[in-house]
Symmetry: C2
Subunit: 125 residues, 2 copies
């Protein structure tokens, strides 16, 4: 049905952040050799580079809270673009930080992350 | 060169928000019949619907301030995914609001907006 992309997006978002928060090395199975990750404006490409970036972030404990997930079907359903907003709490930081993350998911038999852009958001002055 | 997508993204972002803030009806030239816009979780599709949405937003004066623009080449350069963060000031609102906006730009002879997702960001508690 026409709502399937939204359901795939919701399931992906839940799986992605659960995995990020509990078993970060396992995220690498979601990427492909042609994938890109931009994390706080630093770009990585390919499974090995992305894995190294994600497993060497400067924090240990992390918890994401998703506030919104907006999805659109790309190329008649071959892909899904997703914009997530939420907050992230790391280590013993007293307050969560806002983040925004954009994904382009593609299906090559299974859904994977072709593009991933993560950015922290600091309050406007 | 390999940096061209970043330059296209920067030029697009400047043009998009300048046009949004000074001549909003002209944004419709950036969309195509297959384009999607999700504005604050409300989805529009196609040039006419997107035009109607953008020109009937509940504010008159608007000014975007872009804080960050992160781009990646899609499908070997046929497309560009862009994540923008920044703030938006509308009408006589005393304070700007944070926003995040994700674009998938495609080139059919000229660069256009295939996908557009806009979301306001409210500070984490």
């Amino acid at each position: 049905g026409s709502g399937d992309y939204a359901s795939v997006a919701d399931q992906f978002v839940k799986f992605y952040y659960d995995t990020f928060d509990t078993n970060r090395p396992a995220l690498q199975s979601l990427y492909r050799p042609s994938s890109f990750l931009t994390f706080e404006s630093s770009q990585s490409a390919g499974v090995a580079d992305i894995h190294e970036k994600l497993t060497n972030l400067p924090f240990e404990k992390v918890k994401h809270n998703v506030t919104t997930t907006d999805a659109q079907p790309v190329s008649g359903g071959a892909g899904i673009i997703v914009l997530v907003t939420g907050s992230i709490q790391v280590d013993d930081q007293p307050k969560p930080l806002n983040f925004s993350q954009s994904f382009l998911l593609m299906n090559d038999g299974s859904w994977h992350v072709a593009h991933d852009v993560f950015k922290l958001i600091f309050p406007a002055e």
